[in-house]
Amino acid sequence: MSANQAVRIGAEPSALARRLILGIIGAIFLIPVIAMIEFTFRNGLAGDYTTSHWTGLFSEDSARTYRGLYQAIENSLVLAAVTVGIVLVLLLPTMVLVHMQFPRLKRTLEFICIIPITVPAIVLVVGLAPVYSVVVQVLGGSTWTLAFAYGITVLPYAYRAIQSNLDAIPVKTLSEAASTLGAGWMTVLWKILLPNLRRGVLAASFISIAVVLGEFTIASLLNRRNLQTALLQVSQSDPWVAVIFALAALALAFVLLLIIGRLGAASPSRRKS
């Protein structure tokens, strides 16, 4: 291969090509969202538009009508919180420990964490069903117990977010420097490593929240009620409200991603000021 060919193959796309690609991808994401918004203003099949579907949400009647939906939102938020807790309490220390003390286990841990992405949710449920029969006996049938399953489904995303941050900082040198200055293991983790892993930890947490808020299959097949199963149920009687809540969930996920980007990009000096 000639040098010219190599340069041509490795060259960046032109500004026009970049804008075109961005425009097409943006349209793919935006068109359904715009269609959803447009749908929420439709007045049945009459062809005109109304704000009644939005304003109706705040009426006393709707509070009663959609009590189940609000309960489902609460369930999903609790599930998100517990799932993030599982990621922070179990996955994060394990990854730090493997990174520092047992680097040979890194590949094994990565393999284990990636597995859930290769297993279809339906297959996962088949495996989880007998486990949950025991979970129900021990912890009851509360919806929050679904977080154990979600803790597994978010592993690939949370692992990748934390690992890329771990690879980007000199974990070993920083923790050794802290030890020589008198810090114990917990101090090293809390005061030195966590602040430097903030970006990865936040990304893992927000991605976990987004995954949990959008999860349907496992909750449905294990007969638990979360936001997505409730939306399906509501959509059968009031499709406009279901779409409004779906939009709200999308907006929340979008805001979370924005926060990840903003916090991750902020340099220490800017944070300080």
Partner: protein, 367 residues
Amino acid sequence: MTATFTLTGPTPTTDGASAAPPTGATVQLSAVVKAFAGHTALNSIDLEVAPGELVALLGPSGCGKTTALRSISGLESIDSGRIVIDGVDVADTPTNKRDIGMVFQAYSLFPHMTVLENVEFGLKMRKVAAARRRERALETLDMVGLTKHSERFAHQLSGGQQQRVALARALVTRPRVLLLDEPLSALDAKVRVQLREEIRRLQTELGITTVFVTHDQEEALAVADRVAVMRDGRIEQIGTPEELYATPTNAFVADFVGLSNRMPAELIDGQVHLHGCTLNLLGDPMPDGPVLALVRPEDIALSTEGIAGTVISSSFLGSLRRTRVRLDDGTVVAIQHEVERHPLPGEAVTVRLKGAPVSALPAKAKN
């Protein structure tokens, strides 16, 4: 709860000097062994560092010098032997309880903390009151000349400044032992020289027992009270820089410390016969026979008569000049001489040996 903390080091006077006696600890390594997956990194090392002394561990890559330092710090456990600091065996004491200060080869400032917060960290771990902590950290930053950068973050500093902050951070607690793991190797030449002199000045002022790991013999000879030359997990020789340079106990030390020319010679009755000169042999006795004599560049002179040769190149080194000459027998030697004499490549010259004692290697040895 905030406890009081007594800083054991002497308080420097305003001119930076200290009248207080050395406060460092004695460090002893006795028969220390450490192996990694079958490779013996430390092979029964014995070393004693006196209070306030700076000992450099010098050797090629993989000789075990960093492992020795990390064993003293507790960052590496040892397989057998004793590490004693001020009479107490610390082999089982965790790093954070050993009261040491350490500067690493890699930049190790905490990126999320300012310079001041980095320097305060060790005092915070010792629960020093906030006001005293700040005062002490600023004092130490002043000692390394970085007070005005106290609110900056690591990424806003140059490499040299980062290592000076790391040094201040290691010194602020007045540790019993200061461990320096090639702290200058990532810096450019000029900063290296400046910082090594600064390290030596601070170490002398504070009287902290210091172990300095380096693979740069010039650095080791320049800063250390004594230098331990290591090879394959063992200490080959330990002595003052002058002793190591003038009277190496074996050929490895002679070859590693300073420059040496390898010249074919004959060993007869314990004396080296080289180009008609008879030279005394340094170090352990060797069997008679062909050897490679290790002759320092300053022990060969350009002269009007002697061994004939042709100049290959000549380099100006500031206060002196180093000229490479191919002798008629094919041997290439480096000769150190005054700058006024400027031989040109291709010029025919004659050289003579000054007669200084030399070390020697068996003729077939590679090192």
